[in-house]
């Protein structure tokens, strides 16, 4: 079933904290700061907010947020599973809530201390912060064998992908070089000012051979981002709205986050195939997409999603990237903030903020007049458009 919101909802405000390796304050404070910034950006106040949505894995309690922000009345709240792969689901929830009238102004947020707090990449055998209600129950079958981190889970899929389609570490490296090029000119990025060559990538140490080197990994980051969603009607009174043209989630049977290895064909991200069927069944074509933000927790899944979303054939993402399609002026400029690999890892929601900036014309690596942006994270995604 296609999920077209008919342009009935809009993102009207974006906000964030600084991205760092040690925020020095609680996730609740980080969320509050990002939300206040996003509301200010929208020309709204905390009195206007009546809904909240975040990830199931987010540590910030809605009740604490309300106490901090002084929000008078919450009419609606929700959480989305699947960790970062569910990140764009918060936009579907928020847009559906305002379009359906359950709330008038919803704040979608993610606050994280992924470096100074609970690091995803630390080897640990105790229950992970992702272990409850976030789509990682299959990780219990990984831990006894030392498969302890998202990189190790993902590498088991990515090695199969490489084997099936003849993809090499250097093919992943060419994507990373492009992301680091974007990050190098983004003052908000962890890798601001530090480009790399393909040789640098190829000499970075193995994390999970033969798929994932150090430079293939996203940056564990502290920070928060927030987006303010309301109806398209109310958005007309705000300074810089972006329309949610379509939003979708495709949580398939036998899929969770990367810790599940039991689907028959791990070389294909089938959740992204199903997601694309929804997003591009709503009157918007792939050729309409001017800029894309694609969840790059690890570089292999950038290639795998490009294929699953139908921007190139299966096994062809390596050539699509080598041809320069992800660069400014390419066929599909991608992750123009440097992505999660280059800018930082606010669990995927910083990609949505970058898409809004591109459509507003205020991104640091601003493209030439984009009007339609795609943001996807594995099985969740949105298509955003500049108002006519």
């Amino acid at each position: 079933m296609s999920v077209s919101l008919g342009g009935s909802a809009a993102i009207v405000g974006i906000g964030q904290t600084e991205f760092s390796k040690a925020a020095g304050r609680s996730e609740t404070q980080l969320a509050g700061e990002a939300i206040v910034a996003a509301l200010s950006d929208a020309g709204l106040t905390t009195d206007d907010v009546d809904g909240f949505v975040s990830y199931t894995i987010d540590p910030v309690e809605e009740t604490e947020l309300v106490r901090a922000l002084g929000t008078p009345e919450v009419r609606w709240s929700s959480r989305v599973p699947y960790g970062g792969g569910g990140s764009q689901g918060v936009l579907l929830h928020a847009a559906a809530a305002v379009a359906g009238g359950a709330a008038r102004v919803v704040v979608a947020y993610r606050a994280i201390k992924a470096r100074s707090g609970s690091r995803f990449g630390r080897a640990q055998v105790s229950p992970r912060p992702t272990s409850a209600h976030s789509g990682s129950t299959a990780s219990q079958w990984c831990s006894p064998f030392g498969v302890l981190t998202p990189a190790s889970w993902m590498a088991l899929n990515a090695t199969r992908y490489m084997h099936t389609y003849g993809v090499t570490s250097a093919d992943f490296g060419r994507a990373v070089v492009q992301l680091r090029d974007y990050a190098a000119t983004n003052p908000n990025a962890h890798f601001y000012g530090t480009r790399i060559t393909l040789d640098d990538h190829q000499s970075s140490r193995w994390i999970a051979e033969p798929a994932i080197r150090l430079f293939d990994c996203c940056q564990e980051t502290d920070g928060a981002v927030a987006l303010v969603v309301t109806t398209a009607d109310r958005a007309r009174d705000t300074p810089a709205p972006v329309i949610v043209a379509a939003a979708a989630t495709a949580g398939l049977f036998e899929e969770e986050i990367a810790s599940n290895h039991y689907r028959p064909n791990l070389e294909v991200m089938e959740g992204s195939v199903a997601l694309a069927a929804q997003l591009f069944g709503s009157g918007i074509a792939r050729s309409d997409i001017d800029v894309a933000m694609i969840y790059d927790a690890f570089s292999p899944i950038l290639l795998m999603q490009l294929e699953a979303l139908g921007f190139c054939g299966f096994g062809e993402a390596k050539d699509f990237i080598a041809d320069g399609n992800l660069a400014p002026g390419g066929g599909l400029p991608c992750n123009t903030n440097g992505g999660l690999i280059g800018e930082g890892y606010i669990h995927g929601l910083n990609l949505t903020v970058e898409a809004v900036r591109q459509l507003r014309g205020v991104a640091v690596n601003q493209l030439d007049d984009p009007s339609t942006a795609l943001v996807t994270a594995s099985r969740t995604g949105v298509i955003l458009q500049r108002p006519l």
Partner: protein, 92 residues
């Protein structure tokens, strides 16, 4: 619950313990003190059609190959327990 028929019955069935490597990853970092590195993680497709996450032992990391036949063995782990790991089974 069985997702096909919603039965809640179950029984224990002995498997042959043989299969093939579906995928693998040689894990270098980060390191946990309970394991010796590099860890060779494998996905094994058992001959009965079940896929399991495990380790491949008795093989140098460069020799790990997708499609290689493997056979189960049981290795001691913490607290007097054992885990099923796999070793090369030779050509079939």
């Amino acid at each position: 619950m069985c997702p096909e028929c919603h039965s809640v019955e179950h029984e224990v069935v002995e498997l042959a313990g043989t299969g093939t490597v579906y995928s693998y990853a040689i894990l270098h970092h980060p390191q946990h003190p309970a394991f010796s590195y590099p860890v060779v993680a494998v996905l094994v497709d058992l001959d009965e059609g079940i896929r399991v996450v495990s380790n491949l032992v008795g093989v140098e990391p460069p020799e790990v190959r997708i499609g290689a036949p493997v056979r189960v063995m049981f290795q001691a782990t913490a607290d007097g327990l054992t885990v099923p790991v796999f070793e090369p089974a030779g050509p079939t």
